[in-house]
Symmetry: C2
Subunit: 393 residues, 2 copies
């Protein structure tokens, strides 16, 4: 029997005493306790949603375990919103009986979990946790946000889950050695879920950038270099091949600026040349996806200026754009399969219907497109760091 | 006469030659040139939208000047989406005649501009720019993203706007001295527009955190400290006062965890106590706003489980929440006026209808609420750094 215990308000010595009493009684009655202080569990594969929230993420490859209930279920909410598929969620809470160490051992054997996401404030058995994390990490990435890194945060954690202070420097060094991908911000957990669960790992740090506008190419290049990635020069042969596709005044360098050229075949042809090129390990494209917002604004403006214009012509445009995006993503997925390099997109326009992760029929990979260049660059940089760790191990 | 010149594809020596020729001809004909390589200008106050995009931001207090056209208009798009009001936009492009230095002098006298936002790749007259920035900065914040900070970014900038390489260390030191708020990521430009144009400046770095859930309080505390802000201990007298409002098992420390208690008056009373308290300079609240998503999911679940339940009762709930948010924001604005401290919110749930900036009738301040704690914390930290610079000057 599994008992899921949500509210457990007492902290400090009295909290620990009550918890011990609860565990003793449960052991005697052969009851397993989740929590206390948990928001429950969910498994979208079994449509099991036993959770202090009514969120319904779709089945997928990311498993989330969170010692904070509210943070955990809000991550599930974001996951649903961004199209990140969930293998399972466990709100481990104060971990009176089932601990993060137990969860870790399950990840080792669970084939459906491709990315492990953790929010932790404290760990009861550090040695067991890090040894297990290292074994899991050799098979799949473990991404972690540690709450209570600072004295103020730690004090808050103590009054929250009752976590005891630990030396964060020692903790972080152990995490790095165990290959854990450590992040500082909650949303990075999901961005890395999207990237790790949907894309092949890069084999190096060299990025080819393709952009619909020059400024975003500059910004993306700066961010790449500042995050340990490289923007290699294009090979002269590659330049000659792109000369056949773009107008004569194109940038002739990396980032490849499409200089506003937007026939639907142009980005398809350019991305293929870049993926083929053995001088890069990944492609970031900016402004190719998510143009519907721009298009809708344009249509509204045209209707205002020229109300007599045939609406049918204009109203077919967003549909054509949707079709283009589908074939572009499918094309990118085929290229990922063929060349084993990740492709990350950046939308640039805030579209309420846009999702970070887009399924592609018949492909083991997915389309991934972030709203801002920094999110794409950071995700790629962490993928590369994880690949380096795996190679060293 | 003003000539707005968009496309200008030639770069390098030939580009400069053509540009010089254009400027000479324009001077002779008494024509002023904006650009070349610009996406135009807009002024929502005069409903002048002469822009290579159909975006329509509302009138406001932020003026954006961008040497990159696409980056500039996409910032406008985000501004419209997030509710950030725009005073004016200028795509300054390659700046053959009208330069960023000219714009800066206009900001000094334009009363409607409360925050200046710049995307720059190069500056023709550094001395004039920084002197002007310093004068402007004493009246209103100048927020800047510099494109081409790295060699790769600089190379991209050279092929884009034809900007020449500059020493970024020297540049950044000069910017700091001039009080410019330097950011690394495009979206920070808008987050700071939201904060600077809508809130009073903090008088120090001490933050009181109020949260609906413990984990987010831990995360926000860590981020505050890591960004140079402090989480002071609550004064015993303040604890006694909050004892009257919250159940006996509340955290009794900063962050103030509302432990899931959510009568509409509770957050109102607690935030008032925190704003009154002279031990803090700003309040960050998490999870109070943006609960509609949660509520809608709950209603859907209830309907599924109990189809017979009276729909009227359930369907009144989201409306009540909207009303609560309005009064809460109005209350926070009154407290900002009274105590001269900023209040920053964090939504935590991805709501398609949520805006970062919300107008409040009759107040000089606005409601500001970000989707993630890191955005709120970073904005507040930069506000505090700017205030410190102003005090030193």
């Amino acid at each position: 029997m599994l008992l899921i215990t949500s509210g457990f308000a007492e902290t400090g010595a009295e909290g620990r005493r009550l918890e011990e009493e609860l565990v003793r009684a449960a052991r005697e009655a052969d009851i397993l306790i989740l929590g206390p202080n948990t928001m429950g569990i969910c498994n979208p594969y079994g449509t099991l949603f036993c959770c202090g929230s009514n969120v319904r993420p779709k089945p997928g490859a990311t498993t989330i375990v969170s010692q904070s209930g509210n943070l955990g279920v809000q991550l599930l909410d974001f996951a649903e919103h961004e199209g990140v598929g969930i293998r399972a969620f466990g709100g481990s809470g104060n971990e009176a009986m089932i601990t993060i160490e137990d969860y870790m051992e399950a990840f080792e054997v669970d084939e459906l979990t491709r990315t492990v996401v953790l929010y932790l404030e404290s760990i009861k058995n550090g040695r067991r946790f890090f040894e297990s994390a290292r074994r899991v990490g050799k098979k799949k990435p473990v991404v972690m946000l540690k709450g209570g890194r600072t004295q103020a945060g730690n004090r808050a954690a103590t009054s929250h889950t009752g976590a005891l202070a630990s030396n964060i420097r020692v903790f972080e060094a152990a995490a790095r050695q165990a290959g854990i991908v450590v992040v500082e911000q909650p949303m990075e957990l999901l961005d890395l879920s999207a990237a790790f669960s949907s894309l092949p790992l890069p084999r190096g740090n060299r990025v080819a950038v393709m952009t619909l506008g020059g400024g975003w190419g500059v910004v993306a290049s700066d961010l790449c270099v500042e995050n340990g990635l490289a923007i290699p020069d294009l090979h002269p042969e590659l330049i000659t091949r792109i000369d056949q596709i773009l107008p004569p005044y194109w940038s002739r360098s990396n980032p490849v600026d499409l200089v506003g050229e937007f026939g639907p075949t142009i980005p398809m042809m350019v991305i293929e040349e870049l993926m083929k090129w053995d001088g890069c390990d990944a492609v970031i494209h900016l402004g190719i996806l998510g143009l519907q917002v721009f298009m809708k604004q344009m249509i509204t403006s045209i209707h205002t200026v020229d109300p007599g214009m045939d609406r049918k012509i204009l109203e077919a445009l967003p549909g054509a754009l949707v079709e283009f995006e589908k074939s572009y993503l499918a094309h990118a997925a085929r290229l990922m399969e063929k060349y084993g390099k990740p492709v990350l997109g950046v939308n640039l326009l805030p579209d309420e219907n846009a999702r970070t992760v887009m399924d592609i029929e018949g492909s083991p990979y997915k389309g991934v497109s972030f709203l801002t260049p920094e999110r794409a660059v950071k995700a790629l940089a962490r993928m590369n760091a994880y690949r380096q760790w795996r190679e060293r191990e």
